[in-house]
Symmetry: C2
């Protein structure tokens, strides 16, 4: 097997942890697998370098930031190669450039355009463990670029795709993806397998294990992604094609997003273009609108409701008051979004009905509903949201 | 004018000092000059990275060390560019690779083979201040290399040569080259101009301002080198071609090297090959022999004396006892070497005579003498060595 392993900043946070990662990599190699390791900067390093830059400028030039920030991953890759060599393994550290990561030239948030795998393959063919500095690449003109936050995950997935690796393991400090937040539901279970689409829903709903960009890329490149912990030997969660998951559960998990606020406009005059104006104005102000519900009111006028992240609420409120699109504006910060995610919904009816019944039995009022093929999201009062998650987790028997 | 400025680790030792360097560079640019700046890693950074590597291995792989160590200079170059841009100057940071520094593939002590100046010229032509990460380069095959200790000086001199710069300023924390160590002779004077060959003698004699490799390269590439302090506005010392120095002083300065020990063999049988055997054995043991004196003794046998650095003395002593080349071996650690350096000696007679008279007048016995075209070195008892330096400094009127 060819395995790409990615170790995040916490997993390589100090020299002892790098030693621990070296042992894990060695164990994989001993098993007879080929290994490409992608590493992040030691935790704290990137923030330190950013604070250095901010000492000089609140808005440092992106081109120079990339030269600055790409140094952290180079350090980790060299140290891990040195540690593995000392243990008797043949290892080689490659910078983003040497690993052939070619990106566009959007500094600090570049996109990988292609990967020239020749150097990695050459070293793998020689039996070497290949260690790649994550998060960085190079443009066709030789400029240093970085891929933005979560960039090392992207490096790993893109490399796994380019090398047609059997597996891409993303190591963090959590065991994998859970049926729901174990702090809310203590008997939440780790999910063994989950489809890309379900994972994308979880990621958009605030699960912090993986970023959407990485999951999307894995889906596009058909990379089998595993998220697991570098601090124990637990198996982790496999994120893969729906076809690869034999037994599809109707519901995979429940997500809770408390970082939501709602704005409601009642009695909007039903002229074309009003909604467009509202959402264009919000988009121009870089406010991320999440759920949008529109209904015709009693008198033929329109009721419009939408949610925004809580930290963008004040700006959104100001914009809505300025726009004056409706005389009847309501603002509510004390709401939360509870979502049920599962590919099985596509072929099972009654999933939504069960959710509504469950919340009704707890006397929890559902204020907004939005559904997709594999997700049902409901807005409830924030104070009832944890109860809602617990009762839904029970209702769908996710602890079984 | 096109000026290359190199700032060492102490000069960029913290963020405030980098700010200070930015102001100096800006002042040069304001004067109307074009500037290329070469920077070292912030002081302490390189040693920190070495200690990281040594945590894993006492003998870390040179290839990986180069990826590790080259990161420090990249950080400084990016930060200085960011600082200058914030001050309103157009600046660009270039890594060793981007600056076109092509080296051989001897990792951790690579030699610069050529410089592709196109990127630097392109940026200079656009009016930009070019900031280059020193100490590093890249092989033709794309491997990262570093140039060894003092490598940033070499980067600066090589770049100045390739760009045919008018001046290459090396900034450190000392004002320049002095007629002798001011701690021994308080009225020692800073030398305004000195020839490459004199500087080479001073450097071999332990003056720590510049390393021999950099001075040799400056001589070869005909680069006008200035060594000066980044902590004040004093003029520094210009190191240049002998022809460029109008008024050649007979003696430029006095150097003192206390890190010397002497080994004397009396009554060595005068067979061919004995001396060869002694010095080959010492060379094989990596012992640097400095002065060598051979004389025929009274009975036709040979007396052989030589000096070695004090820290290599114990090993040298052991080797000499093993070799058993003479029954009459003498070892002396309490000696020092006092040297007089000056290009004027070539055309002035009586320089040596004056030195001998001066020391005789102080009742200081000269135990060994060795001369070159522009240098007279004398071994004396260590306890008299500072007095010797002071009286010679007076005798040649170096404070005038």
């Amino acid at each position: 097997m060819l395995i790409v392993q990615k170790y995040g900043g916490t997993s390589v946070g100090d020299l002892d942890r790098i030693e621990n990662v070296a042992k894990r990599v060695a164990k994989t190699k001993d098993r007879g697998d080929d290994v490409v390791v992608v590493v992040s900067a030691m935790s704290g390093e990137t923030n330190k370098l950013i604070s250095y830059a901010n000492h000089f400028s609140t808005n440092p030039s992106p081109r120079e930031m990339d030269i600055l920030l790409s140094s952290g991953e180079r350090v980790t890759s060299a140290l891990l190669a040195i540690a593995l060599k000392e243990m008797g393994y043949d290892a080689v550290a490659l910078t983003g450039r040497q690993a052939g990561i070619i990106t566009d030239s959007i500094h600090t948030k570049a996109r990988i355009e292609e990967i020239d795998t020749s150097k990695m393959r050459e070293n793998l063919n020689e039996g070497k463990i290949v260690i790649v500095a994550g998060f960085q690449g190079i443009t066709k003109n030789g400029m240093v670029t970085t891929l933005g936050r979560g960039g090392s995950d992207l490096s790993a997935v893109a490399i796994a795709g380019a090398l047609k690796a059997d597996l891409c393991e993303i190591y963090t400090d959590v065991d994998g993806v859970y049926t729901t937040d174990p702090r809310i539901v203590p008997n939440a279970k780790k999910i063994d397998k989950i489809s890309y689409d379900e994972m994308l829903e979880f990621a958009s709903l605030g699960a912090k294990v993986l970023q959407n960009r990485s999951v999307e890329l894995a889906k596009k490149l058909n990379v089998n992604l595993v998220t697991r912990s570098s601090f124990n030997d637990n198996e982790g969660t496999l994120i893969t094609k729906e076809e690869n998951i034999m037994e599809k559960p109707v519901v995979s998990g429940i997500a809770l997003d408390k970082n939501q606020a709602r704005i409601t406009l009642r009695g909007v005059s039903d002229k074309p273009g009003i909604a467009a104006k509202i959402f264009t104005t919000l988009a121009d102000a870089n406010i991320n609108v999440d759920m949008i519900i529109q209904n015709v009111g009693e008198d033929g006028s329109t009721n419009l409701g939408f949610t925004v992240p809580e930290n963008e609420f004040d700006r959104a409120k100001e914009i809505m008051l300025d726009l004056n699109a409706s005389k009847n504006l309501e603002f509510d910060k004390d709401i939360a979004k509870v979502s049920i995610v599962g590919v099985g919904m596509k072929s099972h009816s009654g999933v939504a009905a069960k959710a509504f019944e469950t919340l009704a039995a707890e006397n929890i009022n559902i204020e907004m509903i939005s559904t997709s093929e594999i997700k049902i999201s409901m807005v409830v009062k924030e104070k009832y949201s944890e109860l809602a998650v617990r009762s839904l987790h029970d209702a769908y028997e996710l602890d079984k």
